[in-house]
Symmetry: D2
Subunit: 167 residues, 4 copies
């Protein structure tokens, strides 16, 4: 009965390319029947991924917010908002709760912390829209758990393969 959860992480200040990829990621992940988990704020990759997911009937989007319930700004495309009131410590919760983490876009400090925390927690991470330098560096830290995809569709195929291998 428990739903698979795929985390989509990426900068709040993302470029248009990363946001388009994130939107497609959200749509394709939701089409698999998986829950899309993001940082929940109404900006950048997290907002785009949630909006993409909500184009799919019956989709569920979860946002793990850094703020409290009174001050948090939440993406309109988030179904279930979890208010941690814990700032970036919530990044550790995001990755613990994701079956696989997809990191989309440039290596901002916040996204980098989520990739690092995911690896520390033993999770697999799929990078998409990252620079080749970022890909090379994170692969060198990742003990075989960092994977690279050229675009959203390939990223979701990798997620499917990783889930099948872990089952």
């Amino acid at each position: 009965m428990r739903r698979r959860i795929i985390g989509v992480m990426g900068p709040g200040a993302a470029d248009r390319g990363a946001e388009e990829t994130a939107f497609t990621l959200g749509r394709l992940i939701a089409a698999e029947g998986w829950v899309v988990l993001t940082g929940g704020r109404p900006v950048g990759v997290m907002d785009a991924a949630s909006r993409g997911a909500k184009t799919v009937d019956g989709s569920i989007t979860v946002g793990i917010l850094p703020s409290d319930h009174e001050t948090a700004e939440v993406s309109d495309a988030v179904d279930i908002a979890i208010f941690t009131n814990m700032g970036d410590a919530r990044n550790a919760i995001n990755v613990q709760s994701s079956d696989v983490v997809v990191a989309c876009g440039a290596a901002s400090p916040g996204t980098l912390s989520e990739v690092a925390l995911a690896l520390k927690a033993g999770k697999h991470v799929v990078l998409v829209n990252a620079s080749s330098t970022t890909e090379a560096f994170l692969k060198s830290c990742g003990h075989g758990r960092v994977h690279v995809a050229a675009e959203a569709m390939e990223a979701v195929q990798q997620v499917r393969r990783l889930i099948a291998e872990s089952a």
Copy 2:
């Protein structure tokens, strides 16, 4: 689009009466179209509330677990498991994320911490299956935000009223 979330808190080691009340609470809350949020473990009030909710078509249950994804024991009736790996600090997340908190059963230390954290976060709390001593004490701490219900149906009516008043 965002879903209302009602937290059902109570002891893991609950008596049969509290579990029956929790089951009915979960069923009635889900029937309102609200998400049922619990501590997620496969015991006591949290398990019973989630199981009650899952008797309703289209219901969603969220469990906020104290453990990590590898060691956590999760109720089979939880749809979406959030692994905080934060022990009882996750109690603060449970109450921040709930529109209203329903506390069911005896005043165990864990449940008491959730009621206290809910009041600190400015949330309303509905007590059901509590002793009259517990009711009186928590009302005296609660600045008008502690409410008492005789059984599950009345608790859900109070939740409905509190939501209407806050809208």
Copy 3:
């Protein structure tokens, strides 16, 4: 080499009697050579306990702040400020880190959450300046780990006894 840590918890909005007791608690705890741990803000019981401790040569005061390093207001009497940026979830850290918890003053929701989290974590709690209703209620939840003292000196004697018994 590791230092004993005694947590002094109590309302930020405390009455004069609770603040005087907290000041004496801080002084007596520091005089034993123990670290005084509080919530770190410049108000109420936490401020008074830290100020009392700093009247003792060589004392160390630790404040576990709910806010981040940029916005936190910190008591001048805190030597070591730990910025959790976690709101009231930091209450769980306060009690985990204290060998014994002393709760001073009225049962505000914040203080009540710390007492409850301490009991959940298996810690002993000494109440001082609490109402008789609060004492009776918390004793009924405390599985023998809630103790009552009439004033600061007696509270510190109880802490000394509890530490001796656990050694």
Copy 4:
């Protein structure tokens, strides 16, 4: 009255070179009168930095542990142990609480998460004993807040300069 806190972060499984650098870092930081803050476990860089600090009279070492007070293994060289029971989410607390962060040794996922969280929190980070690839990558993410030192003495000089500039 409040003490400056310098965080020394690095892998638990460190090579001998990183441990020797960490020991010297701890000694030199303590000699400045600053508190040495680490992850508190009895291994690798955190243990070595704390042991180095404790060779200095009057030094204070703080360890922010990932575990609870019952199961945590704590370095003998930690004076003040803070038990977060929050796993790697405590990394966010480590960097929030440090005036400057020194990262020592290879880019393990845990250390990488601390560097990233430090940058996200607006902190300056000094790298020592890192590979040139790690240095280049982190500088590219760091918005001018990543600094490189060849060895411990130079790292502490950089910390001193960063503190002077922020004062």
